[in-house]
Each structure stands twice: as structure tokens, then as C-alpha cells.
Amino acid sequence: MQAIILFGVLVSTYLMIIAKRLPALISSFRIQSFFLFLATLSIAVNERQLDLYIISGLLFLIKVCIIPHFLYRIIKKIKVSEDVGMLLNVQISLLFAFFLTYLSWALSGKIISIGNQAQVVVLAVSFFAILTGVFLMIFRITALSQIIGLLVMENGLFLLAATVSGGMPFFVEIAIFFDVFVSVVIMGFFIYRINKLFTHIDVNKLSRLKG
């Protein structure tokens, strides 16, 4: 079961790397979040803890339903082109992603002792998700992909916390959800403003603001 879930996270992350249009990016993010939800749920079922059930419910509500919906709405509202604006094309991005996968695998192998293969895989996938988030933030031009990059990083961290250490304390978890939600709302608002002011959301051109 866990293997399937991890595989799903990995594939959805790759999907994000090769996504060329913003809706595709958002829906891949939705898929990744859904697999994350499944992972949390499976832990909750195993451990029979009310906290984990609530957390997985919140995860589903916020990351699978509300945030993607909100992002879709922004795209519709600001009516920019749906292109994510690639600084690296799909092929090179994919090569880069392979390299990142290898890097996170090597790293997690270093951290966890050799006997525990399952843990190594989980750690590698989480690292990969975090690195991909950074990758998306760097090599995609539009501000919306920057938000998604941040969310992907957050997902990776969540996976790391949930599977490797059995989850963070309940209140921390709740607080993080709230933080993520608020930050998405704020950033969405910023994008709206940037678009209004510059008539595009190309972050590269913000360098004109430099003194």
C-alpha cells in the first residue's frame, strides 16, 4: 500500500516538472496532495488515532479542494496566458529531475542506516519533492508557479514528518495548515496586484524595480 502511495507522489511530482500549462501544474499538485492524503489516512488507520484522522481530513479539504480551486480561480480572473514560462525546456528539466532523484536517494542513504530500506525510500521521495519545489521556483517564470513550488516543498516536508517521524504534534500540524492556507491567499492577492500593475505575472521583469 505504502509503495503505491509513494509511487503516486513520485509520478505526480514528475508530472509537475513536465507540465507546460498552469492548469496542468495545478492538477498535478492536486494529485500529489491526494496521495499525501492517502498516506496520512493509511497511517491513521494503522495507528487508530483521532488526531491523524482530523489532520488527513483537513489535508483533503485544504490542499486537495480549496487551494487548487482558489488557484484555478486566479488564473481565470487575471486572464493571462496559461503558459508556465519555462526557463529550461521539458527535456532538460526531466534530466535535471533524474539527477535530483539520484541526489535525494544518495542523501537519504547517507542519513538512514542501510538496514531500513523502506524508510530510505520514503526519505528519498520527500527530499525529491522538496528539491522539485525549489526547482519549480527557480526555473519557471510566472509567479503562480512560484506559489506552487512553495506548496510542493511544503508537501515534501509534510511527507517527511508524517512518515519518518510519525507526524508532528497535533497543534503544530493544524497551525501549519492554517499558515499554508493564509500564505496562498496572500500570495494570490499579490499576484492579482502584480498583474494589475504590470499586466503580466512574469517575475523576471520585476528586476526593473531594482534601484
Binding site: L107, F135, I141, Q146, V203, S207, K210
Partner: protein, 609 residues
């Protein structure tokens, strides 16, 4: 942080510095009533009182902190508040410039202090003074040397030791006068407190070169300070340079104490420290007074340039009297307090030369000689300051129309004048008290040490040395003045008559024919030309060969430290900054990339090890 507590220290050393802080701050505060009125708006006056209160409180906290962290916090508050006070005259662009130089220099100093404190913390595992003192006894001596150097640079920047003095002549004159008096009189003294508290009290002097280094720096500081003061014609700037010189004199006492401590000459160490501390409180008082009376002149005439003053003794006799008293004291003329402390310092150096091993004899003698030279130059400097500012004919209309300072300003000045006389005549009592302070600082038992009362020599030599007593000198002065006066009444009064100065038949002598400050300092400019590097600029505009329409003549001295140390340094900083600017493209992706590459490299690094 370990065990952190706000414990204050009230040993004799701290109490002495508290006394110094309040003896200058109090009259300065009273003085500011009159000084601020009319000069600034009501809101600004309120702000100045607020800043003044915080300034004095933070200085008090600096000298009473029993914990290095509290000390550092108070030190930083003190620096920041004094910065705000320096830039208080926001109208003048010069104030802002002076403030910038000041805040940069003071933070360089603080950086060194933080480094030193962190090293101490690493060994003591606590910022508490007692814990640090215990740790210092087992600290390896190489680390001790390092900490000493850091502390010296850190505190030296605040104290204005050459070559870290450059901020002082800019910042001190630019502040309102009562603040200048507190800054020059008290704030730079907190650095001396730092040196005594941290180097002598906590760290413990263990090498001869520490004292030697401080002595060398002190001698250089003395000479450089006074030579620059002599060249200056801005009255407050001149006083600021003179502060540099006096810090040198104080450090001569402190440095000699460190020197003797490492040679285990306990009597001499305590005696030198007493001399240094005595000069410290004296300088606080007379420099406070001089800045206050200089401020009165500035308020009355609107200028600080001596070349535009003159004849003020007739319109502001009381201010002139106070300035004269301060000038006599700072020139170390008996029977006032400056004489006592400089004499003590000289004595300490001379007796030191008797007792130290042969190789150091010459060194201490040279130090004493340089101190004597400094005192003589200081006297010349203040003859110029008083003569040009207060005597002869007024050189400008504003000097002619000046009015005596208001009562509150005069109260402040008279209080300090009184203190000058008290500290001069009550020398034996003061020395007794200071011996106890020096005892705490050095950790030497001083209960059976007596530096005999009216005999300014050290115990073992009591009765053999020169016999000297300030009250006696004062009596002698009074008697001689009385005799002179009688002589004048008896023989000369009838023969003298009042007439204008003989002008070789020119008949049109006016203020423009007077001796100027620049002219007065010319001989010294020539004598010290190897260091001052004077140059002149002339500009002639002529209609024909025989008719010169206008002629401009300027003479300047080269600011050696600024030109050869600070300018190249600043240039290289800017050059590096320009190179660093290339990586700042302003693109978000690039910045994210930097972060990513850093993380990536760190991961690689981790994999490697």
C-alpha cells in the same frame, strides 16, 4: 545563555565612575536650560531632555553592570543615543556627516568588543564578571593576548586613541554644547573604565608588552592630539582634539600601572593608577567646563571660528573667567587640579624609571619627556584659545554685539569652576580616596599604602623628594600677587597712562591688524611640519603685471591619518562592494538559484563526509 541575571556592581571603581558621570552631567543639564532656549523648537527641546536622560542612564549602567552582556547592551544604547545627539542639529549637513563617521567607527569598536566577550564567554561559560575572573586565571596566555588586543581596539576606538581618533574631532563639536561636554567629559571615559575593568581587573595583566603598548599608544595620542589642537581655529574642534590629548595623558597613567603590575611593583602600580584616575576626573571637570563656556560663546556670537571672535572678555566677563580657569587647569598650571594629576603622572613615570630593569629605564624616561612636551604645547594651545577668543578687539560684528550668557548657563559653569578649585586644593584627600579605587581595580591590598599627604612622592621616598603642596602653592601665588599689587600701587600706577597701541604712524589700526589664531600657531606648524605636512594655495588675478586685482592665500595641513590610513581603506571597501554588486542582478529566480546551489553544495559536502 547560562545563568543570566541582572546583577549590578557597586564597588569603589564603579562608584568612582558614577561620580564622574554625575559631576559633569548635572551642571551640563542645568546649563542646557538656557542653552536650548531660543536655539531649538519646544518639541526638539523635549526630545533633547529625553535623549539626555537615556544617555546618562545608559552610561551609569555601563559602569555598574556586573555582567558582560548587560555591559554590552548598555554600551550599545550609549553609542546609539550619543549618535542621535550628534545629529541633533539636523539642519547642518556636517552634523549628519559627523554622525555617520561616528556610528561607523563606534560599531567597528563594538564588533571587536563582542568578539572579545565571546572568547571570554567560551572559557567562562557565563557572562558574569566573577565567573569570567575565575576563568581568566586558568586561560592560556595566547588567548589572553588576543582578548587584550581586541579589548584595546574596541575600547580604544571609543576613547579616541590615535589612529582610531578620527571620529572624535567631527562628532564632539557637532553635538549641542552641553552634550559635547558630557561626551568629551564622560562618555569617552567609559572606555577607560572598560580597559580598567576588563584588562586590569578581570583579565589580569600578565605580560610586560601590554603596558608597553598602551604607553606607546598613549604617548602618540598625547602628541598627535595636542599638535592638531594647536592647528585648529574652530573653538569646539580644538577642545575635541585636546580631549584626544588628555585621553593620552590618562592612558599614560593606566598604561604605567599595567607596566608596573606585570613587573610586580605594587606601590608604583597603585600610584600610577591613582594618577590616571585623578587626571580622568580632572579632565572630565575642566573639559566639561571648557565645552560649556565654548558653547556660551557660540550661543552669544553664532560662530565657533576663533578668527571671527575677540574682545569677548569685555562683554562676557563671567564666561571669560570660567574659560580662563578651565584653560589654566588644562594647561597644568598650579594650583589647579590639572597640575596635580599631570604632576602625579610625571612622578609615577620618573619613579618607575628608578625601579624598573635597565632596559625599560630609557623607555619610561622618554614617556615622561613626551608628557612634559605635551603639557607645554597644551599651555601654548590654550594661550591661543583664550587670547584670540577673549582678548583684543572684536573681529566681527557678532562678537561685538555678544551678550553675557543667561543665569542657568552660568550656574552650570560656576559649579564646574568651583570643582576645579576643590579638586586642586583638596588633592591629598582625593588621592586617599583614589588609592582605595585603585586597590579594588588591581586587587592589591592598599590599607597600609600611604602616598604622603602634602608630599607628592611615594612612601619609600617620603621626605627625600621635592616638597610640594597645592595649598602651599596657592598661598604662594596669593602672596606674590599681593606683593605685585602693592608694588603696582606704590610705584607704577601714577606713571601709567591709557593710550592706544603705538602703530608706527599708521593711525588706522583696527581688528584686521590683530594677531590671528593661524598666525599664532605658525611656529608650531613649522616645528612639526614633518608630521603636519603643511601646504599652501595661492591664487592671483592680475590685470597687468603691476596691478594685482585679487590675491587669495590659503594654508592647510595634511590630515595624515585620513589620507594615508582611512582613505585607502575606504577605497578598497568600495572596490570590493562594486565587485560584489555583480552577483546582485535583482532577479528572483537568480536569488532562489543561489539558495538552491548553496543547499546543493551543502548536501554534496555532507555526502563527502
Amino acid at each position: 545563555m547560562g545563568n543570566f541575571s541582572l546583577n549590578l556592581l557597586f564597588d569603589p571603581l564603579s562608584l568612582f565612575f558614577l561620580f564622574v558621570i554625575f559631576i559633569v552631567s548635572l551642571p551640563s543639564a542645568i546649563y542646557s536650560f538656557g542653552y536650548l532656549k531660543g536655539e531649538y523648537s519646544v518639541g526638539k527641546i523635549k526630545l533633547s531632555w529625553f535623549l539626555l536622560a537615556i544617555f546618562v542612564l545608559s552610561m551609569s549602567l555601563v559602569v555598574t553592570a556586573g555582567n558582560a552582556l548587560i555591559f554590552l547592551l548598555a554600551w550599545e544604547i550609549m553609542s546609539l543615543v550619543s549618535y542621535f545627539l550628534v545629529v541633533f542639529d539636523t539642519k547642518h549637513e556636517k552634523s549628519v556627516q559627523a554622525g555617520t563617521i561616528y556610528i561607523v567607527m563606534t560599531h567597528i569598536g563594538t564588533a571587536f568588543l563582542i568578539a572579545a566577550f565571546l572568547i571570554l564567554y567560551k572559557h567562562a561559560h557565563s557572562f558574569d564578571f566573577t565567573a569570567i575572573k575565575n576563568a581568566c586565571q586558568v586561560m592560556p596566555s595566547s588567548i589572553k593576548h588576543l582578548v587584550f588586543l581586541f579589548l584595546l581596539i574596541g575600547f580604544g576606538t571609543k576613547a579616541g586613541i590615535v589612529p582610531m581618533h578620527i571620529w572624535l574631532p567631527y562628532a564632539h563639536p557637532q553635538a549641542p554644547s552641553h552634550i559635547s561636554s558630557i561626551m568629551s567629559g564622560v562618555m569617552i571615559k567609559t572606555a577607560v573604565y572598560g580597559i580598567i575593568r576588563f584588562v586590569i581587573f578581570l583579565l589580569g595583566v600578565n605580560s610586560l608588552w601590554w603596558g608597553g603598548l598602551v604607553l606607546v599608544l598613549a604617548v602618540i595620542t598625547c602628541l598627535v592630539g595636542i599638535v592638531y589642537a594647536l592647528m585648529e581655529s574652530d573653538i569646539k574642534k580644538m577642545l575635541a582634539y585636546s580631549s584626544v590629548e588628555n585621553m593620552g595623558v590618562i592612558l599614560l597613567g593606566i598604561g604605567a600601572a599595567m607596566f608596573f603590575l606585570s613587573l610586580n611593583l605594587q606601590y608604583l602600580a597603585v600610584f600610577s593608577l591613582v594618577a590616571g584616575l585623578y587626571h580622568l576626573v580632572n579632565h572630565a571637570i575642566f573639559k566639561g567646563l571648557l565645552f560649556l563656556s565654548g558653547g556660551s560663546v557660540y550661543k552669544a556670537t553664532g560662530t565657533r571660528d576663533m578668527e571671527k571672535l575677540g574682545g569677548l572678555i569685555k562683554v562676557m566677563p563671567q564666561t571669560a573667567f570660567c574659560f580662563l580657569l578651565g584653560a589654566i587647569a588644562i594647561s597644568a598650571l598650579p594650583p589647579l587640579n590639572g597640575f596635580v594629576s599631570e604632576w602625579l603622572t610625571l612622578q609615577a613615570l620618573f619613579w618607575g624609571a628608578f625601579y624598573v630593569p635597565v632596559s625599560a629605564k630609557l623607555f619610561l624616561t622618554v614617556c615622561a619627556g613626551m608628557l612634559a612636551l605635551t603639557s607645554a604645547l597644551a599651555a601654548a594651545c590654550f594661550v591661543k584659545a583664550f587670547g584670540i577668543t577673549f582678548l583684543a578687539l572684536p573681529r566681527s560684528q557678532s562678537a561685538k554685539n555678544a551678550k553675557e550668557a543667561p543665569v542657568s548657563m552660568r550656574i552650570g559653569m560656576f559649579f564646574l569652576s568651583l570643582m576645579i578649585i576643590c579638586f586642586g586644593l583638596g588633592a591629598s584627600f582625593v588621592i586617599k580616596l583614589l588609592t582605595r579605587v585603585a586597590g579594588t581595580a588591581t586587587g592589591i591590598n592598599v590599607s597600609n599604602m600611604k602616598f604622603s599627604l602634602n608630599n607628592f612622592t611615594i612612601m619609600p621616598q617620603a621626605g627625600q623628594g621635592v616638597y610640594l603642596s597645592v595649598p602651599l602653592l596657592a598661598c604662594a601665588l596669593v602672596v606674590f600677587l599681593f606683593i605685585g599689587w602693592i608694588f603696582y600701587i606704590k610705584f607704577l600706577r601714577n606713571k601709567s597712562r591709557t593710550y592706544t597701541t603705538w602703530d608706527c604712524g599708521y593711525y588706522k589700526l583696527d581688528a584686521r591688524n590683530e594677531y590671528t589664531a593661524t598666525a599664532f600657531s605658525k611656529p608650531f606648524r613649522i616645528a612639526f611640519s614633518f608630521f603636519l605636512l603643511p601646504y599652501r594655495k595661492t591664487e592671483k588675478i592680475r590685470e597687468s603685471f603691476y596691478h594685482v586685482k585679487s590675491f587669495v592665500y590659503e594654508t592647510h595641513t595634511t590630515m595624515v591619518f585620513k589620507k594615508y590610513i582611512y582613505k585607502p581603506l575606504l577605497g578598497s571597501v568600495f572596490k570590493t562592494a562594486k565587485i560584489m554588486r555583480n552577483i546582485q542582478a535583482g532577479s528572483i529566480h537568480l536569488y532562489l538559484g543561489y539558495i538552491f546551489v548553496t543547499v546543493f553544495l551543502l548536501i554534496l559536502f555532507m555526502n563527502k563526509f
